[in-house]
């Protein structure tokens, strides 16, 4: 008996040491003693995708340390899984990861995934298991809304009769595209535009949404659309010339940097159109994009579904606390605070379930209780705003932010809150900086 207790104590002490070593724990040594409850995480965390996943993972870790590393006497842990294969998100790997998380009897809810295509593959697995998923960044509307443009339908991803287990704290692409269309037409004064996509679910979805709104703003015949296959395309000049003789004065790209969405930009200078605005969604708001755009990085603008924590006065103290704990140059990213809010909502739901006397050892009941509590989230005050989930799992906070690449001072670059070209590279001082935000929720 005695040795067992000592063992337990050692485990708790070890956790406390780890938490302190991570710089953590505002709540201090409140480590639990009833057992461990874990929040699963599934994000792309290696290779080129690491710049997306790792800062987001930090948001979850920070939420746990903010909660003091425990909830109602239970130790909180992270069960982290990487869904990147070869540097790019991989839906099959994601399915493997969530299966693993479902089979892990400490995991009661999860944060993730990062990419919509992974979410599409994972929901059918997590839904029958009642495992709550809150995505910090999935912006494809079809995961929750059955729009006419959807190539798949939310109800097909879920088992009939099983309540919804999928939520997100960000706005959706059907708003990201329109926000950029309004920005292009009203703010930049663009009358004709070339729209390009890279033949993925994400890319086509966001480009379609952009195109529809731009046509509404600028009228019929105001865009020319084309697609490229990222596997076989390395030269975009003929496509770009096509846009040019169409009379376009800007380009919108629906895509992500790992599908080469920023490489066409690098080829624009030689065609004399390097000064055109090059617009896109959150898939190009990355440091890889700034590097891929090479000498033409200035003039690239991107939207992010979600508010920029750095532009919200009430978020400032949380971010500066975060940075005291996570001091690396690349520890903070566009979705760190989304993940922090997502994890905080789950922790609140776990606490509510525990306080209602639910037993985490009865795994299925407990997961369902957490899920029901998350679904009932109403007026949750997070860092990014107030979250109320609707029946589909979408948030009431529908904020889209626009960022543009600018040349920044060394001090702002080294502060680490901007997405810049790789340190030491030729574009190290070119960064995405906040320009404007649109609120569709109001």
């Amino acid at each position: 008996m005695r040795t067992l207790r000592l063992g337990r104590f050692a485990a708790v002490a070890a956790f406390a040491v780890v938490a302190v070593a991570c710089g953590g724990g505002t709540g201090g040594g409140g480590g639990g003693n009833k057992g461990t409850i874990a929040i699963g995480v599934d994000l792309p965390e290696s290779g080129a995708a690491a710049s997306s996943g790792l800062p987001t993972l930090n948001g979850v870790k920070y939420a746990i340390s903010k909660a003091g590393g425990s909830v109602s006497g239970w130790t909180l842990a992270v069960e982290n899984r990487d869904d990147a294969v070869g540097g790019s998100y991989n839906a099959d790997k994601g399915v493997q990861n969530v299966t693993d998380l479902i089979n892990n009897n400490t995991v009661v809810a999860m944060v993730g995934p990062f990419n919509s295509a992974v979410g599409k593959a994972e929901i059918p697995v997590t839904n029958p298991a009642h495992l709550t998923m809150i995505s910090p960044s999935n912006t494809n509307p079809c995961l929750t809304k059955d729009l006419p443009t959807c190539s798949y339908h939310p109800q097909d991803l879920r088992k009939a009769g099983v309540p919804n287990n999928y939520f997100r704290v960000v706005a959706t692409d059907d708003l990201q595209g329109p926000a950029m269309a309004d920005y292009a037409y009203n703010t930049l004064g663009i009358k004709k535009i070339g729209v390009l996509d890279e033949k993925t679910v994400f890319g086509i979805g966001i480009a379609d949404a952009f195109q529809a709104q731009f046509q509404k703003d600028a009228g019929a015949g105001s865009f020319k659309r084309d697609s490229y296959d990222p596997k076989t395309t390395t030269d975009w000049r003929s496509i770009l010339n096509g846009f040019k003789s169409f009379g376009a004065t800007a380009i919108y790209v629906g895509g992500t940097d790992d599908q080469k969405a920023c490489q066409p930009r690098a080829q624009m200078t030689a065609l004399g159109i390097g000064s055109w605005p090059y617009l896109g969604g959150d898939g190009i708001q990355t440091s890889q994009c700034v590097d891929d755009a090479a000498d033409s990085a200035l003039g690239v603008s991107a939207t992010t579904a979600g508010a920029d924590a750095g532009q919200i006065p009430s978020a400032a103290s949380t971010i500066s606390d975060f940075k005291k704990q996570f001091t690396g140059a690349n520890d903070y990213g566009a979705y760190t605070m989304s993940a922090y809010d997502a994890a905080s909502i789950e922790i609140a739901a776990i606490k509510k379930a525990l306080d209602a006397g639910k037993d985490p050892k009865k795994l299925n009941d407990f997961r369902e209780a957490v899920r029901a509590n998350v679904a009932a989230t109403n007026g949750f005050k997070g860092v990014l705003g107030t979250t109320t989930f609707d029946a589909k799992g979408d948030t009431s906070a529908k904020i889209i932010s626009v960022y543009g690449v600018k040349k920044e001072d060394a001090s702002r670059v080294s502060a680490g809150d901007l997405t810049c070209g790789k340190a030491g590279g030729p574009n190290a001082n070119l960064c995405f900086d906040w320009v404007k935000q649109f609120n569709f929720g109001a």
């Binding site: 540097g87 390395t234 010339n241 003789s245 790992d258 590097d291 891929d292």
Partner: protein, 337 residues
């Protein structure tokens, strides 16, 4: 017939917007020249041992991957721009990369193909696919999954500028007087270096003793051996030359687009292989012609139709050519059995 229609269409496009067509052709020819350099390697190896060397596309990528650190040794980093002092360094690195690439390919042949020379043909085909994955994996482990930025060492000087007038038939009334394309020294350099390499190769194969040995080996390996030709050495030389050309191709590609990624060779290799088949596999001039044609067709399609269809169009043409002319445009040169 369909070829005639295509030519008429191109003439119409030229009348409509000459500068736009020239721009497209220039892009097509430069891309095609690079495909051609890769296609030569496929065609040479197939010609001599009837092996589709699937690793060849990755040997091509390896050229760029080797070039980057070698340039780094001379203090040239990804942000470096063209200057005359770099020209001798560039030439030196080119030679070095071609040599290193050749040695890698000889090793591949020695390890993965030679022991299987008398095995059923499927066996070396599988080892070739295996070598392709191994090379790709090695480059991935070496430099990671991201696109590497290559220094812009070719001059950005404009050789000739084309501007687009208003459309004659009002079809492209949106076009402005801004230049549609500047034919750069860069483009000229790419095309000239390809042409020079193709001519050198052709002369080498048709005029030199080793070239004669290659032709003899291709025609009848056993008879060639009986005549005292060292076929192992001849085949090694073929792999060396093919890889050296691919290495040069990889360097030219990376210098031209200033960007290279570990998986570039997989699809570029596929397109180049298609070019070799289109021109008539085993045929040097055919490979060069096939590469140029694919580059031009691709550019025309992307400019005037839709890039969504690029691969459909190219492979559709390939199927047409093979159905109606199985030996390719210029005819195969493979040993008769």
């Amino acid at each position: 017939m369909s070829g005639l229609l295509a030519i008429l269409w191109v003439i119409y496009l030229g009348a409509e917007d000459p500068a736009g067509l020239i721009a497209t052709l220039v892009i097509g020819i430069t891309d095609g020249a690079m495909f051609a350099l890769v296609a030569l390697g496929y065609t040479m190896v197939y010609g001599i041992i009837e092996l589709i060397n699937f690793a060849h596309g990755d040997v091509f990528t390896l050229g760029g991957f080797l070039g980057l650190p070698l340039l780094g040794l001379f203090g040239i980093t990804s942000g470096t721009k063209f200057a005359w002092v770099y020209v001798p360094i560039l030439v030196f690195v080119f030679v070095l990369v071609m040599g290193l690439n050749g040695l890698v390919n000889i090793t591949i042949e020695r390890v993965a193909y030679r022991p299987l020379r008398n095995a059923p043909r499927l066996a070396p085909l599988i080892t070739a696919i295996g070598m392709s994955f191994i090379l790709e994996g090695a480059m991935y482990l070496w430099r990671g999954p991201v696109s590497l930025r290559f220094p812009n060492l070719l001059p950005d000087t404009v050789a000739s500028r084309f501007t687009s007038p208003a459309g004659h038939f009002g079809l492209n009334s949106g076009s402005t007087a801004a230049p549609l394309i500047d034919i750069g020294v860069k483009d000229v350099a790419v095309v000239i270096s390809t042409v020079v390499l193709v001519i050198l190769l052709s002369v080498f194969i048709n005029r030199t003793k080793l070239g004669k040995a290659m032709r003899a080996t291709a025609q009848d390996r056993d008879a060639a051996q009986l005549m005292g030709i060292d076929i192992n050495r001849t085949i090694s030389a073929t792999f060396f030359i093919g890889a050296a050309l691919a290495g040069a191709g990889g360097m030219i590609w990376a210098l031209y687009f200033n960007s290279i990624r570990f998986d570039l060779g997989f699809t570029t290799g596929l397109i180049a292989f298609t070019a070799a088949v289109l021109g008539g596999i085993g045929n040097i001039e055919g490979a060069a012609l096939g590469g140029l044609l694919i580059g031009i067709i691709r550019a025309l399609n992307e400019r005037y139709l839709s890039a969504s269809w690029s691969d459909v169009v190219i492979f559709g043409i390939l199927i047409m050519v093979l159905v109606f002319r199985p030996t390719g445009l210029l005819g195969m040169r493979v040993p008769e059995k």
